[in-house]
């Protein structure tokens, strides 16, 4: 079983979000970077579980520059066999998807596993785009994945419920909560990761379709109106007559 797991680099969830260059660039100063949680906790770990049960390989793929390597090593420490970094500045989701699809097609993977979204752009875009570019089935927001030979059975979230689907390999999936339990890398994994292959491949020419013009921060809340715990009726009154939400 040949499994490709796409990982993205993301700022730590507690990172303070600020911008530089006249609010056009994310300020990376002092920010710690992690493997995007959905990619690591669910896509990567489920990939490893499938490999452990069925044999095969798990390759992690990242599109980015050399400063992503420490984050890629973390995925290797958790248990991936090898890593590929497509050397490119990530301009937008479609650009990244074109890089991934081109690589995945040429290597003949049985499945491409992604996280359901990144915690920086929150796009939920790359996996679906990769599927279309590979002309492969796409199962989004998957919470359970089992593979039997060339057929995968997948549970996915849909509006107001869960759907169970069957797809033939190769397929693309985006992983959500429920797929697996996060793993913490141990010392042996961290040591082994240092010598695992991290292959850098050149990017293909591809155009982008969107450009970030600028960022802004949400306006601060004007302050919290405190209500006495003995006067709960006043809260109800305010919600009804002032905020008009009940």
């Amino acid at each position: 079983m040949k499994i490709l797991v796409c990982i993205s680099k993301a700022p730590d969830t507690t990172a303070k979000i600020t911008f530089t260059e006249n609010n056009t660039k994310f300020n990376e100063n002092g920010v710690q970077f992690i493997v995007n949680p959905y990619d690591e906790w669910y896509a990567l770990v489920r990939g490893l579980e499938l490999k452990e049960a069925n044999g095969g390989t798990v390759t992690v793929l990242n599109v980015g520059k050399a400063d992503n390597d420490p984050v890629i090593r973390k995925a290797l420490a958790i248990g991936a066999d090898d890593a590929v970094r497509i050397d490119a500045d990530t301009v937008d989701a479609l650009y990244v998807a074109k890089q991934i699809a081109n690589y995945a097609k040429s290597e003949g993977y049985d499945m491409v596993l992604c996280g359901k979204e990144t915690i920086d752009y929150n796009g939920s875009q790359v996996a679906g785009m990769v599927a279309e570019l590979m002309n492969a089935p796409y199962v989004s927001l998957a919470s359970k994945l089992d593979v039997n030979g060339n057929t995968a059975t997948i549970e996915r979230e849909i509006e107001g419920g869960v759907e169970v689907v069957e797809v033939a390999t190769p397929f693309v999936l985006s992983a959500a909560k429920g797929m697996a339990e996060a793993r913490i890398p141990n010392m042996r994994g961290i040591m082994a990761a240092r010598s695992k292959p991290l292959n850098v491949v050149a990017a293909i020419d591809a155009s982008n379709s969107t450009v970030v013009k600028g960022f802004s921060l949400p306006p601060a809340k004007s302050g919290c109106k405190m209500i006495d715990a003995d006067n709960v009726a006043e809260l109800v009154n305010l919600l009804h007559n002032e905020a008009k939400v009940i």
Binding site: I119, S124, M129, K221, C224, D228, V232, A233, A243
Partner: protein, 313 residues
């Protein structure tokens, strides 16, 4: 030129998010002098109602055989409809369906996509929340065809009061490698992302046996229930109630946070709520900084009183 709006249906009726998308597309069509055309797949009724939001025509592919969900097929049909209508802009709701179909369509048409838009475009530039709601980005779409998925509850509804002409539509549907084996509807509970009011509780509630009052509060308000991540992780509540940066992101009109400290990862999923009420024993809980109304007090005393006060409203 026209704007095509994908209007999703569930069990034969248009979803709340279908109207959200129609509202966005209708307002955009009006300000740009284009026609707003909606596309509905599968058997569904009440389609004329889309006219209320500025839709002038509804393409109805009634026997699409797509009552089970396959993004590969749906994106192929949307692409055909966009072509036949000469649409240069395609609108989805940023819900389960939109998240699955819009990216495929973007790659198929090589059309730029902004997902989770929170405002109407300014020229070709669309505003969306990024960093899990901690910031906003203005993103310009540089391709001729543009795709936008709209975050539910982001835009005020503008009721135009028109009526839409419903015409039938059909096209070829590609065969794909996906088979739907089973659909399990999760009871009749209000869907968390669609609810106007959400009552959420955290570890401060001490144990799963204490959720009765949370469910009752939700019931008297017609609200959905949610929880913090540790509560779902320990199994006090089902996983689908987990909100936050690594759970669901929601934007209700009113969010009650009861016995939740307000960690940055929790706030990330709920700070788009219009009004936030916090009930916590600890006056220093960080959640109060993100709240509109707060009560420092014990949930076990405050919530029952709250239920009584709402009942007598």
């Amino acid at each position: 030129m026209s704007i095509l709006i994908y209007a999703d249906s569930n069990n034969g009726t248009l979803t709340k998010n279908a109207f959200e998308a129609a509202n966005y597309g209708g307002q955009l069509a009006k300000s740009t002098g284009k026609n707003a055309v909606a596309l509905v797949l599968g058997s569904a009724s009440g389609l004329e109602e889309l006219g209320n939001y500025g839709i002038t025509k509804v393409l109805h592919f009634a026997d699409a055989g797509l009552d089970s969900f396959d993004p590969q097929k749906i994106s192929a049909v949307v692409a055909e409809a966009a072509k036949s209508e000469g649409a240069d802009t395609i609108i989805f709701a940023h819900d389960y369906t939109g998240k699955s179909v819009a990216p495929r369509l973007s790659a198929k048409l090589d059309a730029g996509l902004v997902s989770g838009a929170i405002a109407l475009p300014n020229g070709n530039t669309v505003k969306k929340a990024v960093f899990s709601g901690k910031a906003f980005a203005e993103i310009e779409i540089t391709t001729a065809t543009k795709i936008i998925s709209v975050l539910p509850n982001a835009l005020d509804k503008v009721v135009t009061g028109g009526s839409a002409e419903v015409v039938s539509f059909s096209c070829e549907i590609p065969s794909t490698g996906l088979k739907v084996k089973e659909v399990r509807k999760e009871s009749t509970e209000l869907s968390l992302t669609e609810a106007d009011i959400v009552v959420s509780a955290g570890r401060g509630l001490k144990g799963p046996e204490n959720w009765g009052m949370i469910e009752e509060l939700a019931k008297v308000l017609g609200a959905a229930t949610a929880c913090s991540r540790p509560v779902a992780d320990i199994g006090w509540r089902p996983h689908h109630e987990h909100v936050g940066q690594t759970g669901l992101a929601i934007r209700p009109n009113l969010y009650f946070a009861i016995g939740i400290s307000g960690a940055i990862q929790h706030l990330a999923g709920v700070n788009g709520s219009k009004v936030i009420v916090v009930i916590n024993t600890d006056a220093e809980a960080p959640f109060f900084k993100a709240a509109d109304y707060g009560i420092v007090g014990d949930a076990f005393e405050v919530v029952p009183k709250l239920i009584e006060a709402i009942k007598s409203l």
